[in-house]
Structures are given as C-alpha cells and as structure tokens.
C-alpha cells in the first residue's frame, strides 16, 4: 500500500462521513457509513482502512473511526 493510496482512502471515508452526519448521533451516522463501505468498497480497501485504524487512525474523523470500529466488530 502506498501513502497516496492510504491518503485517498482516508479522504474518501471522511468525505462519506461528512455527508452522512445528519443520520442522528455519531453512532447512527457511523452505522450508515459502515453500511456504505460494506456495500460499495472492495475487500482490499476495507482491509487497508481497518489496518490503518488499528495502527494509527489519527486522520480519521470521529464518525469514520466509529464506522471502521463497527466494521471490525
């Protein structure tokens, strides 16, 4: 995985989160985001995101972090 690829994934997931903040509280928004990633993202992209969240996750927005957490669960 390149830095650029990871940066793009982080940007994408944060953008999805930002566009779904209206779904109630952060947990409800995160559920929608996790559902979106599950439905539309490739396996390898989800794995990379989960790995990043586990190792660092600094650049993930709060909802993105929660969404990745839900995907892991």
């Amino acid at each position: 995985m390149s830095d650029q690829q990871l940066q793009n994934l982080i940007k994408m997931v944060n953008q999805i989160s930002a566009n779904n903040l209206h779904h109630g509280d952060e947990h409800q928004a995160a559920t929608v985001v996790a559902g979106h990633l599950k439905k539309f993202w490739a396996r390898s992209m989800k794995e990379q995101l989960v790995a990043y969240a586990a190792e660092d996750g600094e650049q993930l927005s709060p909802v993105s972090r929660l969404a990745v957490g839900q995907m892991r669960a």
Binding site: M1, N8, M12, A18, F40, A42, M45
Partner: protein, 964 residues
C-alpha cells in the same frame, strides 16, 4: 367497408409519407374519398386521410413531418358542395365530406402547375444525383407531364451558383422549386430557424442566415433540410459522389444517449448515407450532425486492422494472428494472477459498446478473472444517478420517455446542455417551448436552449459551480414553506417518516433562497419564482446532465432532484419526471448490464446470496461476494503495485479520466494492459496488447438509451479485423479456461433476460416485433414501461433523503482565483476519437478556453491568445475564446482533443458516494503564455513515438526507439 384509423393502434409505414402530421383527437370524423369510406381523428387533413385510405394525391410542398403549407397546389381536390379546387393538405377532413382526387379537371390543373415548375428546372435528370429518388420527377410522372411550352429563353434560375461550403451536403439553387420544405424543417423539426426565403416573387430563394452561405450561417448541419428537399437542391455529397444507395438497414446511432434510429443506406458493404428513420421511437425521423453525417471514421485509415502485441510499452507493436494475441493475453493474465493474486487484475466495460458486449466483459471478469474488479465509464459520468435515484425511488434510471416532454408545462434543465450534447431531444424540447412551455435553466453558463427562437418564458439561474445542492435545497425550501407540496402524492406514495425528517430539515432557514444566495450567487427572488413556477406548473419536468453528477456532491444533488420532484407530485405520469440525459450511447445499458463492481446485471448486489447463487448456477462458477475496485481505486492500486493488469474494451481512460498525470502513472505501472479499440487511442499507447475493435456498423447487438429504450444495432458491413467485439471477449474467456459459447448476440440477450428481473420479457424476436422496448419488460409490463413509478416505486414508498449542502474542498484562492468547468460541444463526441476523424473537425479544430470579457480584460487577454491554465493538479495551454455566456470568474473548456490536456488540470476530487470525478469544479489561474505546457510537449513527443511504433513492419526488431 369503413377503414378506421386509430392513433397508436394502427401501425403506420415509416417509409411512407402521409403528407401532413398526425392529429391525436379522440373524436373521429368519417368521409368518403374517391368512394372509399374512412374515419380519421378530427383535424386530420384530407391529404393525410387519403393517404391512410391508400390513395396517393400528388404533392410537393407537403411532408408528414411538417405542418401543411399549401404552396404547391398540386394536392388540389374537388369536394362535393364546395367551390373550386382546395388544397387537400390545408383542408381538414369533415364529417360526411365527399372528396374526388382524380378527374380530368384536376389532372389538367396539376399538369399546368408541373409545367410551370419544370419551365425553370434543368432537364438533366439522367445526370442528376437525385435520379431515381426525386419527388419532382415522380410527380411529373404521376401527373402525366408530356411537354413544357414555355422554353428556357426567358429569365430563369438555371445558372444559380451552388453553395458547396458545408462538408456534407451541397446546395444547388438551380434545382430549387422554392417549396419551403427546407425552411420549415429547419424551423419546425430542428428549431434553429437558420433558413429563410429571401426576396419575393421570382426573386424568391432559399438563404441561410443573412444569405451567408451554409457554413458561415447558424445552420447546425442536422440534415433535416436535406431530408426534406424533394429535389437534389440539398443533397448529400456522398450520394453525389457514389450514386443512389441500393439497400438499407435500420440500426441505432452510436453517438449520444438519445439513441436515434437510422437507415444505413448502402451500396454493397459501402455506407452511402445515414438517414434518420421515421419509425425510430426515440428520434422520430430527426438527426444531428454527428449521427447523420459523421460516420466516416468507420473507414478511416487509422482503423486498427490486426491484433498487435508487445512486451513493453517502449517497443514497436508486432502484428500477430488473433490466436496469438488472445493466447498472449491469457498467458499474461494468468501469470500475473499466479504471482500477485486473484484480485490483481480487472477490466473496464464500455458505454460505447453493445449491451451484449458489456454483459460479456463483466461476466468475463467475474467468472473468468474470479473477482469483481469491473467498472465502466459511467463511473466518471452518471454513477451518482444510479446511487441517487435508487436510494430515493428504487430504480437507477430516468422515469420518462422523450415524448413526455411534449406534455410538460415547465421544464427545469439543470447542468445539461441539450442543444450540444443531446441535439435531437433538444429539438423536441424546443418544439414544446415554442408551444408555450416555460423554461428554467440552472447552469453557470447561458446555454443555447435559453436562446430558443419563439420560446415562451425563460429563466436563467446562473449558479456558481459547485453549489448545486445549495440551489436545489433552496428550491425545495420554497416548495415546503410556501405550501406548494402535493400532499396527496406524498401521503399515498412516499414514506411519511422519511418525508417528515426531510421536511424538517429543508424548512430550516439556512436552506432558504435568501440564506443560500451568498453561496449560489443566484438572487433569492429568482429562486423563489423558479420554485413556484415548477411546483405550480401542472406538469413540471426535470432534465439534468453531468453538471449535476460530476461534483463532490453529485449523488446528493440527484437525491435533491428526486426530493423536489416527489414533493411536488411530479412523478408517475407523462409530462413530469426526473430525466438524466445520458452522455454516451449506451451509458444506461452499461450500467444495466452489471458493469459496476458491486452489482450484477439488473442492479443486483453481489453480496446477496440468493442472487449470486442464481448467477452461479447459470454461469457454472463460484462468484466473489465482495464488491471489486472502481476505476479510480484501480489506478491507486496500480500505483501501489497491487493491481497489475487491465482489459479495457472501447474506452479511453487516459484521455477522459481526471488528473492525467495520475492516470498515466497508473497505466505505466501495469504489467499487462489489453486495449480493444477501433483506433490507437491514448490508453492504447500504454498497452501491451491491442485488439481491433468493431464499429457499430460492423456488429449486431442492442443499445439502451436515456429513456431505457432498448434498440437494435444491426450489422451492415463486416468487421475490419474479422471479429465483432463480443467474439473477442468470448475468445479471451475460452483461452483463460472459462468456457463461453454463443452463436449470435441474441443468445447473449436470452441469458441476460434469464438473469435480470427487469429484462425477462426481452428477446430479439420481441424487439423485431415492437421496434424498441423500454425496460422494465417482464410479466408485469410485457410491452415495456414508457413511464415509471405510475402506481408505486420498486422500493414501495418514495424515500426522501436529507441533502445537507457541503462545499467542495476545491476552493478558489489568490493563487487559483477562477473556476474551470468542462463539457462538450455539438460537433464532437466525448474524447473525439470518432468525430475528429470526420469533417466535423471543421467546426472544432482544437479545444479552446472560454472566459468572460471581464476576466479577459483583467489579464490583458485577446481572442485567440495562448493561455496557460494552471490548477493544483497540473498545467496546460489553450487558445482564448472570449464569451459573455460565461459567468465572470468561471472558465470553460472541452476535452475532445487529446493534446489539449484538459484533464491534466482536473483533480482527483470526486463524489462522496460513487467516486464520480468532480470535473465541473477546478480552481485555476489563467495567464498569457507563448509556448505549450511541459505536459503538452511531452505528449507530442510520446505521441510521435507511439505512432511510429504502430507503423513498424510486422517483423521489426522490438528495440527501443528514441525519436523524441
């Protein structure tokens, strides 16, 4: 016996001219014509009634696509109880009327009229290009003209000069009978009003604009005048050169998403001309300059005629047999998967190819590659339409037929430029505007539709690029807060909980036109007026294009449009609806056919076990239950080194996709790129295998247009390299060890129908029977579905989605103070690979940068200056075109020429839900320069090198050349 003519129930012969247009009154009148009793709808002309009864009255100025004019008087008849010889074209049929069309007096009258016509017409029939297909000649024969008593000694027009300026047709006024059919076709059919009759009496002549000549006039070369001409005055140059065609085949145009039907008129396997087919349900006998005339690319010298391979992209190509090319491809793909894993390869289907070909490519990827790494160019155009419409209304498609616009009272066009990108539909729209429908255009540019001659009320909402969602929210805010909703529709057809949530959101003051004015730049009063006009129109119809989808909130905007339509009850009947205007010919079809990585054909998700198992049973293979990579994800993975091979059929991602530097880096990273195309396109310059593609003229199949209409594509000439595109995919699958066997594309369609619930009633036999079918076509809708969502939505209740406006991250600043938006023009199509190889290039030899006079003045820019355009992604150089149709602060260009590098400056930003690129918003700076950009210089050198590799002899040594 009385013949009854009932519109819609009696099949008319599309090859016959019934003289005047049909009337749709439900009241029938009965009359007798030459003793034949017939009933026709009230308002039908006697000429048409006679034609419907099988009686041909001679005519010259009448045609059934034009309103009656009554100038030639050849169609004169006698009517019992009425005086004189009325023209049957302008005389409405009346109850109890008794008409005589042939007797001695009428015969003499007609002969006299014809004698006058012929007295000023060259008698060169044997050498005339219309010989054998000339209405004047036919009528002279029909009336029994035997002599012309007047001679040619007097003043005449026989030496009038021919206007050859248009590349596709000539205008020879010496043969003109001044019937005005061309003028009326330009007005009534095309809606341009470029032609007129100049002068009076004997001096009357057809003139283009202010007698400027066709090429310099406002003429858009749609060909309607040529088709209308009853003589050889307006004649295709291809017919003048080659003579009259001897047979024809009805097929579907391969340009835009309108999907016009044409008669490909042939001499043997040589295409002489394309004539719009009156029986075509999408175009009803009309055409544009691309479909009508720009077909010469099919026989252009640049066509790739044999398969080619090379080890690396810095080597010359080696022409090989099909077998060797396919074996080489299969070996490479298998080696890469063995080394880098199952998911290290993928492919891209094409919106320019047929449904059957697209279906096979995604099947190849899912079944033979063993992953879901399939995507299509709809990713970069209408993927947000799929997401947005499926989320709100349950189906990833537009809701109407094109015809529906003729019942619209207010037409709202958002981010679309129909006169350039969907010209034939634009002509229909203009016809409706001339009838009095109101037009609201939301677009940063003042598009030509706003300049429709004789249109009713028009309104322009010139919003800033990137603020669509803010605008649609404020339109909906007005609807909700001013009580303009259709409460009955909402209560009965929509999910009330979702509606109430949305209603609460949209009612907030921050979504009001006044609050959003600072964001959109559109005066609040105008937004309020537009919202009221749309909501209270009776029938409000929305049409949108890539100006909606190609944004960071493209999907949000599509949902906002659906919200607006549902809240006002503008769904589920004719005259209303949400209508995405699809860019390429088969965008709808490529999406329907399962090109997206998360969906099997018919928008069936790969994670659904029951659905997957249905496909696994028919395809005989286990399928992956996880979505695959989208195009931009493939590029990222290629640069990261985990994605190593691609099969690209009929797309040119190197030219059409954003951030060219990034795309080129990705393509260079691949170990195997297989490109199947008709030319060495920009993507093919990075390829290891080049497989010759076939044009739409060389294959059988179907295209699906923007109104979900499935039309047949019929082969009229053999493929230049011996294989239709679907056959190549079949060969590749078999070489990879996955068996595929089809004898004809009809068998592929049968498989599609078996697996796709919205296609179960579809087959080639049904298409032959019906001409075209709009899906869904199944047990519930056996004849297809012209208007969707009439009773309910596929998801049950309509789903209002909250559409919060978020500004794009692409912002202007002091370094990049202007916003660039990109688009298309009439004469060119997409990457221009086809249209640049025709005389259409005469209208657009290069891409230019349009900018507002104030922005030009500020920078000291004059028309034609070289301008350097810089963005955060890159730099390119284009010539300046100063245009007051731009907003100050907004610049525009096209991407039809590869060397322009329009996509060098567009960025990686994309729609949050679908990754559709944000082509419409790029912050740029513009300054005068004196030389091409570095990228353009490198492009020119690379192009020269790759063109040289193509011309190497077959057995040339694969050594690296250094020609730059």
């Amino acid at each position: 016996m009385v013949h009854y003519f009932e519109p819609g129930k009696v099949a008319l012969d599309p090859d016959r001219d019934y003289g005047t247009p049909a009337r749709l009154s439900e009241t029938l009148v009965s009359l007798s014509i030459d003793g034949v009793e017939i009933s026709v709808p009230e308002g039908t002309s006697v000429l048409r009634a006679a034609a419907l009864a099988g009686i041909n009255i001679p005519k010259l100025c009448a045609s059934d696509n034009l309103e009656a004019f009554g100038s030639c008087r050849l169609c004169a008849v006698q009517i019992e109880g009425r005086r004189g010889y009325p023209a049957s074209c302008t005389t409405p049929a009346a109850e109890g009327m008794s008409v005589t069309t042939q007797n001695g007096k009428l015969g003499k009258l007609r002969r006299n009229i014809m004698e006058l016509y012929i007295s000023d017409h060259p008698l060169d029939c044997l050498t005339c290009p219309a010989n054998g297909n000339c209405e004047l000649q036919d009528v002279a024969g029909a009336v029994g003209l035997r002599e012309v008593r007047y001679g040619f000694d007097g003043e005449n027009h026989l030496h009038a000069k021919t206007d050859d300026s248009n590349p596709y047709f000539s205008f020879d006024p010496s043969k003109c009978i001044v019937c005005s059919r061309c003028v009326r076709a330009c007005e009534e059919v095309q809606g341009t009003f470029a032609l007129t009759i100049d002068g009076r009496g004997f001096d009357s002549k057809v003139a283009a604009s202010q007698d400027d000549g066709f090429m310099a006039s406002e003429c858009v070369s749609c060909g309607a005048c040529v088709q209308a001409c009853p003589t050889s005055t307006l004649m295709e140059k291809s017919v003048i050169e080659a003579g009259q065609p001897e047979h024809s085949v009805v097929t579907t145009c391969a340009y835009c998403g309108v999907g016009c039907s044409f008669k490909a008129e042939m001499k043997g396997d040589q295409l002489i001309r394309m004539v719009p087919y009156k029986g075509g349900d999408a175009n009803q006998g009309h055409s544009c300059v691309k479909g009508r005339f720009a077909f010469g690319y099919a026989t252009h010298k640049d066509r790739i005629k044999e398969p080619m391979i090379r080890e690396t992209i810095d080597q010359p190509w080696r022409a090989v047999s099909w077998e060797e090319a396919i074996a080489f491809s299969a070996r490479r793909l298998k080696e890469i998967q063995a080394k880098h894993g199952r998911e290290s390869i993928g492919g891209i289907t094409s919106s320019r190819c047929t449904n059957e070909e697209t279906y096979l490519v995604q099947k190849l990827i899912r079944a033979a590659f063993g992953n879901n790494n399939t995507d299509t160019c709809a990713r970069v155009c209408h993927s947000p339409t799929g997401y947005g419409l499926k989320t709100t209304m349950g189906e990833s498609a537009g809701t109407q037929t094109f015809d529906s616009v003729m019942k619209a009272d207010t037409i709202l066009v958002i981010g679309a430029n129909p006169t350039d990108a969907h010209p034939v539909f634009a002509s229909m729209m203009r016809k409706r505007l001339r009838q009095g429908a109101k037009l609201i255009v939301a677009d940063p540019r003042r598009i030509d539709l706003l300049k429709t001659p004789h249109a009713g009320e028009t309104m322009h909402l010139p919003l800033r690029p990137g603020t669509n969602v803010a605008l649609i929210n404020s339109l909906a805010h007005v609807v909700v807060t001013e009580g303009l909703e259709d409460k009955a529709f909402i209560d009965s057809r929509c999910d009330v909980k979702a509606y109430n949530t949305w209603r609460e959101f949209i009612s907030e003051q921050r979504n009001s036109p006044e609050a959003m004015e600072a964001v959109t730049g559109v005066p609040a009063a105008d937004v309020r007026r537009a919202a009221r006009e749309y909501a209270t129109a009776g029938n409000g119809a929305i049409y949108y294009g890539l100006g909606v989808t190609e944004h960071s909130q493209g999907s949000t905007m599509v949902m906002g449009i659906a919200n607006l339509a549902m809240s006002t009850g503008n769904i589920g009947r004719e005259g209303v609806g949400v209508n995405p205007l699809r860019g390429q010919n088969n965008v709808q079809g490529s999406c329907d056919m399962g090109s997206f990585p998360h969906e099997l054909p018919g928008y069936q998700h790969v994670a659904d076990d029951a659905i997957r198992s249905k496909f696994e049973k028919v395809w005989g293979v286990k399928l992956d239950n996880e979505p695959g990579l989208r195009i931009p994800n493939m590029f990222d993975a290629a640069i990261a080194g985990t994605f190593k091979a691609m099969y690209v059929q009929g797309e040119d991602i190197a030219q059409s996709d954003p951030n060219t530097h990034h795309v080129e880096a990705a393509l260079r990273s691949l170990d195997c790129l297989i490109v199947q195309d008709i030319f060495l396109n920009e993507t093919a310059k990075f390829a290891h295998v080049l497989l010759p593609g076939s044009t739409f003229l060389e294959k059988n199949g179907t295209f699906t247009n923007a109104e979900r209409r499935i039309n047949r594509v019929r082969k009229v000439m053999p493929p230049v390299a011996g294989k239709e595109d679907w056959e190549v995919t079949v060969d590749l699958a078999n070489a990879l060890g996955y068996p595929m066997h089809y004898n004809h594309p009809s068998e592929i369609m049968d498989e599609i129908a078996l697996l796709t619930p919205t296609f179960t009633g579809l087959s080639y036999d049904r298409l032959e029977e019906m001409g075209s079918i709009q899906w869904p076509c199944n047990d519930s809708f056996p004849d297809g579905t012209p208007t969707m969502h009439m009773v309910d939505f596929p998801i049950g209740k309509g789903n209002f989605a909250v559409t919060e406006y978020l500004a794009t991250e692409e912002r202007t600043n002091r370094r990049f103070p202007l916003l660039l938006t990109t688009g298309r023009i009439l004469s060119q199509y997409n990457v221009g690979a086809q249209t640049r190889r025709t005389d259409n290039k005469l209208w657009h030899e290069e891409d230019v940068l349009e900018l507002h006079p104030s922005d030009a003045e500020l920078r000291g820019v004059h028309e034609g200056d070289w301008l350097g355009i810089s963005s955060r992604a890159g730099q390119t150089v284009l010539r300046a075109k100063i245009s007051d149709r731009m907003l100050p602060g907004v610049v525009f260009t096209t991407f039809h020429h590869p060397g322009s590098g329009a996509n060098v400056i567009t960025t990686d930003n994309s729609d949050w839900a679908t990754n559709c690129p944000e082509y419409k918003v790029t912050a740029v700076q513009v300054e005068k320069v004196s030389q091409p950009s570095k990228w353009q210089e490198a492009f020119q050198a690379s192009d020269k090198r790759q063109q040289h590799y193509l011309k190497q002899p077959v057995d040339s040594a694969p050594a690296q050349e250094n020609l730059s």
